[in-house]
């Protein structure tokens, strides 16, 4: 789960890391009011979960409340890289002498947190990581000990942080690591950390991602969750207990097991098609679960065919078949279904589906090819509906 910049900065502030003064505005009037209360030059920043927000025109400087109002008006309601801007953060502009990068995330291979510090702040750190990795100092603290002062100091020396800022940067880095662990983050990043003209430091921007698996023990963060229209099916699927990811194609996919579903997406791709979604019903799926999954996939207007790929291990083929038959009876779907059942009680399942209005295939490859062929052949649902 990603936090918005203003939410992330609130966490920084609570942890004692200096942030610019500012406030969130949902309308141009509110933006003007915040700018007035701050005085002087402000920055108006769109609060959307996209990278490269600045380059995309999502950050604008305003010399006064009037300009702040105008910038807010131009940002609010607009789409930034496909996401609608519903609020802006209005912040006091800082007199920036230089910018640093501070980040904490997971190093999967080392099975440790990795703490990163660089004097090349403010730009895309992933590019720096590839082009000049020596410009990023890295440390891997033991999670049982936390980031020790000597480790943070070593990173500051390694990154070449100017002597005047060293203690402040070490302090911010240790507090940021504290947030990373206390708030169950998978990413906690300050980029840039401003070194202001007077020598003090200030978090210019912040990115925090929280581990979804830990939200149950982070009620304050869980409450920050926003469900956008586009995610409604993902949210519904999560509540039922399976993983759903919206994709760009038109072949609806249902399978059991994340790896198998990924392989099914790939099979669709190899057959010349594109999946509309990833949907894993999980292990041991019963009749009603299969039914719920089909309902979600069929509610997607873009879907032109549905591929159901089940390898029965704990999941039983006959249970899956019953779920499919239920949906056929109730919903009479307008798009063709292709079913591949294999493994435990697949024979029984296939027998149940015999003679029903769907296509049965023996292998994943064959089923994928057929689903793609049907999707290409089918007219758009919208067209059929209006017919």
């Amino acid at each position: 789960m990603k936090l918005h910049e203003f939410q992330a900065k609130q966490l920084l502030h609570d942890a004692g890391i200096p942030i610019p003064k500012g406030g969130v505005a949902y309308s141009p009037e509110e933006a003007a009011a915040v700018a007035t209360s701050l005085g002087g030059t402000v920055v108006v920043k769109a609060q959307v979960h996209v990278g490269g927000r600045g380059k995309a025109g999502g950050i604008k400087a305003a010399r006064n409340a009037h300009e702040a109002r105008e910038h807010a008006a131009s940002l609010l309601g607009r789409e930034l890289k496909g996401l609608r801007v519903e609020k802006v953060l209005v912040e006091q502009a800082a007199n920036i002498a230089r910018e640093l990068y501070l980040g904490v995330t997971l190093d999967r291979a080392r099975r440790r947190p990795v703490v990163m510090l660089s004097t090349v702040g403010g730009i895309d750190i992933e590019e720096v990581a590839v082009s000049s990795p020596e410009k990023i100092a890295r440390g891997w603290p033991d999670p049982l000990l936390g980031l020790q002062p000597f480790e943070a100091r070593g990173l500051a020396f390694g990154a070449g942080v100017p002597v005047e800022q060293r203690e402040a940067v070490v302090d911010v880095l240790r507090r940021l690591y504290g947030i990373f662990t206390a708030k169950d983050c998978t990413l906690a990043e300050i980029n840039p950390l401003f070194v202001v003209a007077d020598g003090t430091v200030l978090a210019g921007d912040a990115k925090i991602d929280v581990d979804d698996n830990a939200l149950y023990r982070q009620p304050v963060l869980a409450a920050m969750k926003e469900v956008s229209a586009i995610d409604l099916n993902e949210e519904k699927a999560r509540e039922i207990g399976f993983s759903y990811v919206r994709l760009d194609g038109n072949v609806g996919i249902i399978g059991n097991g994340a790896g198998l579903v990924m392989a099914t997406l790939d099979a669709v791709k190899l057959a010349g098609g594109d999946a509309a979604n990833f949907l894993d019903v999980g292990g041991g799926a019963k009749e009603e679960v299969v039914k719920a999954a089909l309902e979600i996939v069929l509610s997607d207007d873009r879907v032109r065919s549905v591929l159901i790929n089940i390898f029965g291990g704990i999941t039983r083929g006959d249970e899956v078949a019953k779920g499919i038959l239920d949906v056929l009876a109730e919903m009479k779907p307008a798009v063709p279904l292709v079913v591949r059942l294999s493994g435990t009680r697949a024979t029984e399942g296939r027998a149940l589906l015999e003679g029903k209005p769907l296509t049965s295939r023996a292998t994943m490859d064959e089923a994928a090819a057929e689903a793609v062929r049907l999707a290409k052949a089918a007219p758009a649902i919208a067209a059929r509906r209006s017919a």
């Binding site: 999967r108 291979a109 581990d211 993983s243 990811v245 097991g257 790896g259 990924m262 994943m364």
Partner: protein, 288 residues
């Protein structure tokens, strides 16, 4: 021989709810010695003929168990793993999904100080066909033989094992290492176990997007590989930034793409199947 699970495995079950009980019965049916269950407060009772103990300590002391399988729900799973590690078991298999990643970071730090092998979490476990299983893998897909099989996936493992078995490629040991970002037995180490196992003659490796374990595995095999190997990577068509069901299956910051993993294996001289169905044929070519 086989790795991790053998005839001498003596298994306790931590978490004897519906799922734990079902799989305890399945493991026993397969001939695995499941010797005890652990359920705090139920010590002294028995469930489905399985003697129950209050703690892992008590269970191990009473039954001389050397392995554990964990079905405890996510919020208490790290504690269950630590309890198992504390008893210095040889093998701990954590089936549980959705464990917070910071819990696993702490577990991994403790694990580094023990001699225990932790498989998982969020994994189907380990099966040495004909010898035993400590996991939830459906036995029908597997047959005994000499192919060592390591996979990050569950169902895909069964599918591929089924393909292998049908084509006469029985398995020495199949290790489902799990789909989480932080796991106890990362792919390179799991592959190393099988590479060094005298009874394993060939390797099948099933990876997926996310992390760099496949690249590290390829690098290991390039340097130390002694056996024919075939790989498959799921998620070639997965877009960056989207988590594909498994917590660990995500491409971020240009890292963890299927293309990079395929490239790494090919550079190491290991053919990569485009589809699971190609694996048996590629394996046949490698072995001939």
């Amino acid at each position: 021989m086989s790795v991790l699970v053998t005839e001498r495995s003596r298994v306790i079950v931590q978490g004897v709810g519906r799922e734990g009980r079902f799989h305890a019965a399945q493991m026993r049916k397969y001939g695995t010695k499941v010797v005890a269950g652990v359920k705090p407060g139920a010590g002294g009772t028995s469930i489905d003929d399985l003697p129950i103990y209050d703690t892992v300590h008590d269970a191990v002391e009473a039954t001389d168990a050397n392995a554990s399988i964990i079905f405890v729900p996510a919020a208490a799973a790290a504690d269950a793993i630590l309890e198992a590690l504390d008893q210095e078991l040889e093998l701990v298999v954590a089936i549980t999904e959705w464990i917070p990643v910071h819990d696993m970071l702490r577990v991994a730090s403790v694990l580094a100080r023990t001699s225990t092998t932790l498989v998982g979490p969020n994994c189907p476990g380990v099966i040495s066909p004909g010898k035993g299983k400590v996991g939830i893998l459906p036995i029908d897909s597997f047959s005994s033989g000499s192919v060592g099989f390591v996979s990050r996936s569950g169902t895909l493992t069964y599918e591929i094992a089924d393909l292998l078995s049908r084509e006469g490629f029985g398995q020495s040991t199949c290790i489902g290492i799990g789909g989480d970002p932080i796991i106890g037995l990362p792919m390179p180490k799991a592959v190393q176990l099988l590479n060094e196992d005298p009874d394993t003659r060939a390797l099948v490796i099933v990876g997926e997007i996310g992390g760099t374990d496949e690249e590290d595995t390829a690098a290991y095999l390039r340097a130390f590989g002694t056996k024919p190997a075939v790989a498959f990577i799921a998620g070639l068509s997965a877009p960056p930034g989207k988590r594909m069901g498994h917590a660990g299956a995500i491409v971020t910051g240009g890292q963890g793409t299927a293309a990079s993993k395929v490239e790494a294996f090919r550079t190491a001289g290991i053919p990569v199947a485009t589809r699971p169905s190609e694996i048996p044929q590629l394996l046949r070519e490698q072995l001939s």
